[in-house]
């Protein structure tokens, strides 16, 4: 993750930046191009698609409101976490603001037996997998490295080392393949893996090796790249010369670009890819074209490297507003629904806040736990030394 360790530029520097921004030409902001799969326009109009319509046609109004609820609740959790960081309760927070649809659309396409390998920003996917948001906060608060059991939710720990999890996902998928849990036609058995990563990560050797491994093994893995246009301060052009989804072809499997702010399109495209994987047709690369609306993390200062005009353009593509327009215009949700959801979001935020504030600090001795499966003499020796050393302070205090 990371992290900008220093957010605040000096006054004169930020004044200078502000001036530079006024005179800078408004950058060209990509719209994903004609190849991008979209089922809902930014205004919330339903777009027909012969290829993808059938993945969403069975969705009930309840399902659609469920998607909306996910988007709203996870955005609320994210905002609360950002606030908690500002108040010193978290060391750092990596916001998913703007990427909710990419995460909820793909997360909701997963079946219980599928397995997800996240980066550090997949709070929306974690939500869909049933991971308690407080577990995510624990990592950013510094009480643990991720407090959930990956195998309980089929949601691996957050991976901060960029790209590494794509190889783990591929290997996991190779395991599924060897277990024979692919292509049986049993929809409760056939399984797939989804690997999340960013546009920046696409440059890592690990990610490209994962593509090779997945391809030659025909592994049941979906590579889900959230292209949020930025890798900290570096724009797409620093990582690639062609649209990312086009890379897949060179590795020998299909690539598709989807409007990452359109939860329906993401759901449809991910269903298709997961189905292919589960039925033995191998990997797919999905590029979810989206935008990081906030800073890279709470330690970052994006005014150093991008202009607000770009952010403004993306505001009009907001994933939540577009689904809301659709629900309202199609009379699939009424005001009572939205009001009740607002209330639910506030209550959830309050629970998250309370849970964060009352999260116990780990005891010092706990760092000696879980380093190995079997006992290790040096760890045990140092554990004793640690305990004795601190006991010494306690007795000193008694005198």
């Amino acid at each position: 993750m990371s992290d900008n360790a220093v957010a605040s530029a000096s006054t004169s520097a930020s004044e200078h930046d502000a001036l530079a921004e006024l005179t800078a030409p408004v950058p060209e902001v990509g719209d994903g191009g004609p190849e991008m799969v979209q089922l809902l326009t930014p205004e919330g109009q339903r777009v027909e698609s012969t290829e993808y319509d059938h993945y969403v046609q069975d969705l009930t109004d309840d399902d659609l409101r469920g998607f909306y609820r996910d988007l709203v609740l996870i955005r609320r959790v994210d905002a609360e976490a950002t606030a908690l960081q500002r108040q010193g309760e978290l060391g750092i927070w990596a916001s998913l603001l703007g990427q909710e649809a990419a995460q909820v659309g793909s997360g909701r396409a997963l079946r219980p037996q599928d397995y997800a390998f996240p980066t550090y920003r997949e709070h929306g996917v974690a939500w869909c997998r049933g991971v308690n948001p407080l577990n995510l906060l624990g990592l950013f608060r510094g009480v643990n490295h991720g407090g959930w059991d990956p195998n309980e939710k089929n949601f691996h720990l957050y991976t901060i080392v960029i790209g590494a999890q794509t190889l783990h996902a591929t290997g996991y998928a190779m395991g599924i393949q060897r277990d024979g849990d692919v292509g049986t036609g049993d929809k409760d058995r056939d399984a797939a893996v989804i690997a999340y990563f960013g546009d920046g990560a696409s440059a890592q050797g690990d990610v490209n090796e994962a593509f090779v491994y997945a391809a030659v093994n025909n592994a049941p893995v979906v590579f889900f790249c959230q292209n949020n246009q930025w890798a900290i301060s570096e724009p797409n052009e620093r990582q690639t010369r062609i649209p990312l989804y086009q890379r897949a072809r060179g590795f020998g499997f299909p690539g598709v670009r989807v409007d990452g702010n359109d939860v329906l399109a993401v759901y449809a495209v991910t269903q298709q890819a997961l189905n292919a994987a589960r039925s033995g047709n191998g990997p797919t690369f999905i590029e979810a074209y989206t935008y990081r609306m906030g800073a890279h993390t709470t330690s970052d200062d994006p005014t150093k490297y991008r202009v607000s005009a770009e952010v403004e353009v993306w505001k009009h593509r907001d994933p939540i507003e577009r689904l809301k327009s659709y629900l309202v215009h199609q009379k699939k949700a009424d005001q009572d629904f939205f009001d009740a959801l607002d209330k639910e979001a506030d209550e959830l935020a309050a629970t998250v806040r309370e849970g964060c504030l009352s999260m116990p600090d780990p005891t010092g001795e706990s760092m000696f736990d879980h380093v190995y499966v079997e006992p290790h003499p040096l760890v045990e020796q140092e554990r004793r030394e640690f305990v004795d050393y601190h006991a010494g302070f306690a007795t000193e205090g008694e005198h």
Binding site: G205, I232, E234, K304
Partner: protein
């Protein structure tokens, strides 16, 4: 004379090196417009251009691998690894290629490159952002490894590292980046690969480098209040190791405590201790003691204060040494 932070010292040092030699090129993630996540390269792309301050793709093996090629072509690349924990994708290039190139080519090629790494903990970060991995590289023949502890050394050592014809890993104590000191840009710098006695004393020797130098100086100050007179040595160079300065000190004090953030097992302290017992056997009044991180994966940040050596743990070791 000017007052500057360690970060600014390195920034100024890089600037001087780039002005002096047009073949000095900076490479790394987010080092251009952003000036690096710690702002160490702030303003350099603006002044030297995108050809000399390169925002690389997000791939550390790529950064070091291409820097090797640039160096083969006669450039002097200075690469930034964003955090200590992200050097590992480049480990293969550093250990198999950078370190061995001189010997493999029978002295026909050289790799005058610098790999800058913010190192260590104490900043409340999430995992992989607080590692002390210097021993891996100091263990590798063919690499030189240095670590600055103050602004003055930061300013000079980065320039000297760039001027060195061998590859240098340049460690920067990230939790001390904002510590300020006076820097005399006109004075003659100390030699790069030499240790420095930064406080003289007679009762015991504290040996440290990077972030722990300040901790040891504070410990020495506290000990002075109790009538204990500690000598503090800043190693500055981890490979080569300047054993003469250490041995001279131990011959005077008879006692030594080595302090580093890194885990003690097979760390720099182990090497220093082994050398000292060979060189100073008859001068030692007590076994050499080590204070370091525990031999564990770096813990979540709520526990880092208990994991890392601090003033109390240093003084505890000093007391044990003196009581021996």
């Amino acid at each position: 004379m000017s007052t500057m932070t360690i970060a600014k010292g390195i920034n100024n040092g890089l600037r001087v090196a780039m002005e002096k030699d047009s073949r000095v090129v900076l490479m790394g993630e987010d080092i251009g417009k952003l000036g690096g996540v710690f702002r160490v390269t702030d303003g350099l792309q603006k002044d030297f251009g995108e050809d000399r301050v390169i925002d690389t793709p997000l791939a550390e093996a790529g950064i070091v691998g291409t820097a090797i090629g640039m160096a083969l072509r006669g450039y002097r690349p200075v690469v930034e690894i964003q955090f200590d924990g992200f050097i590992y994708p480049a480990f293969d290039h550093i250990v198999s290629q950078v370190a061995k190139m001189r010997a493999r080519s029978l002295g026909k090629v050289k790799l005058p490159m610098v790999i800058r790494i913010p190192v260590g903990g104490g900043i409340g970060a999430v995992e992989h952002h607080s590692e002390s991995n210097e021993a891996y590289f100091a263990h590798t023949a063919g690499l030189k490894v240095v670590c600055c502890s103050n602004a003055e050394d930061a300013y000079w050592m980065i320039q000297q590292a760039i001027e060195t014809d061998d590859p240098v890993l340049f460690y920067e104590p990230k939790r001390r980046y904002w510590d300020k000191a006076e820097v005399d840009e006109t004075a003659a710098p100390r030699e790069l690969f030499k240790a420095q006695v930064c406080r003289e004393g007679t009762d015991a020797t504290l040996v440290a480098y990077g972030p722990m130098v300040k901790t040891c100086l504070q410990a020495a100050e506290a000990a002075a209040g109790e009538g204990k007179n500690l000598e503090v040595i800043d190693l500055r160079s981890l490979s080569p190791l300047d054993m003469d300065v250490i041995a001279a000190s131990v011959e005077k004090t008879g006692r030594m405590v080595v302090v580093h953030e890194a885990s003690t097992f097979l760390g720099l302290g182990a090497e220093v201790a082994a050398e000292v017992q060979q060189r100073c056997f008859y001068h030692l009044e007590a076994p050499v003691l080590r204070v370091g991180g525990y031999n564990l994966p770096y813990p979540p940040s709520k526990l880092e204060e208990e994991f890392l050596p601090d003033l109390d743990r240093v003084l505890d070791a000093v007391d044990r040494s003196l009581a021996y």
